[in-house]
Subunit: 156 residues, 2 copies
DNA sequence: TAGATAAGTTAGCCATGGCTAACTTTTAAA
DNA sequence: TTTAAAAGTTAGCCATGGCTAACTTATCTA
């Protein structure tokens, strides 16, 4: 039986993976959740700095769909993590580390979105799903997305 | 400029999506996070019931990579949510609703894994990434995965 | 330039989902 | 059948990331 046929299993046949491997997978997901906040913020801050020259908490709150105290709290966490530079009541800027992270996230985001679009998914859905998916895409999988995308683009 | 070329943007060019659409996307991700626990548990419980005839907290804890009090707490939440049936110190079983959710999750899981494998990703990575990705795949995207998979399987 | 409005912060609340320590119940073995 | 080990629960802790209410600071405008 080849790998690919795994999708053809009967609905009730259990897949018995090694417990430790499974546990490691779940641990990876939990770790990804811990970096999601930081990634979402720096990515958005980078976008806003490009568009406006600075990132303001109001706009961050609006675009993330959260209230401003939440932004204040999370920005102070990012500052503690050395990703962000800022003085109270002033706009927010990225440190070198923050800029680096933001760029990596944005590259990844674009690849995921472009990949989903190449499957024929509409733009709204691609953007929305990418927002959740991107945090769980390993470098291996990202490379595979890139590769498939290139193949699609040349073959079309 | 076509959709697909979006990946070819310069690293510093901002993509200005509508703020409300962006906010909605993040809200969707936050909602997905809220159902993740339930989905992971019922999926695993269904697997264990198949393999062993019942699901025991020890094994759930082992496979999720968490400690047993965490399992106890979460199982009681699932019970309150009507997904699980169980008496203290006894094995755990699924209600009809739980079984239904579990099957949907497992179907989705298998499609995501098979799809990643079809891109040439190794099995360990596919399983690990799928664990995180699956919770953020809309029905639209899942259909696109299925479609791409069929195309791949027939064309190979 | 004074005062109103908008923006940002602080304090304190809540649920989630981890954890350890200590206890109870069940199971298995001597 | 008694007792030791394994399994499960309870209580209470922690960090995360939401929220509202109340306050402070900055900005804009009359």
């Amino acid at each position: 039986m080849t790998k690919l046929q795994s999708q053809g299993r009967e609905p009730f046949e259990a897949v018995d993976r090694a417990p430790e491997a499974q546990a490691e997978g779940f641990a990876t997901v939990r770790q990804a959740h811990e970096s999601e906040m930081a990634e979402d913020y720096v990515e958005l801050i980078a976008e806003l700095i490009e568009l406006r020259g600075e990132a303001r908490p109001v706009e961050i709150a609006e675009r993330l769909g959260v209230k401003s105290p939440t932004v204040t709290k999370n920005i102070s966490r990012l500052k503690a993590a050395g990703l962000v530079r800022r003085e109270p009541y002033r706009a927010i800027f990225l440190t070198d580390a923050g800029r680096e992270l933001a760029e990596a996230c944005r590259r990844r985001h674009r690849i995921v979105v472009a990949f989903l679009l190449s499957l024929g998914i509409d733009e709204e859905t691609a953007e929305r799903d990418a927002e959740g998916i991107e945090h769980h895409v390993s470098t291996t999988t990202l490379e595979a997305f890139k590769h498939a995308l290139q193949k699609f683009q040349s073959g079309k």
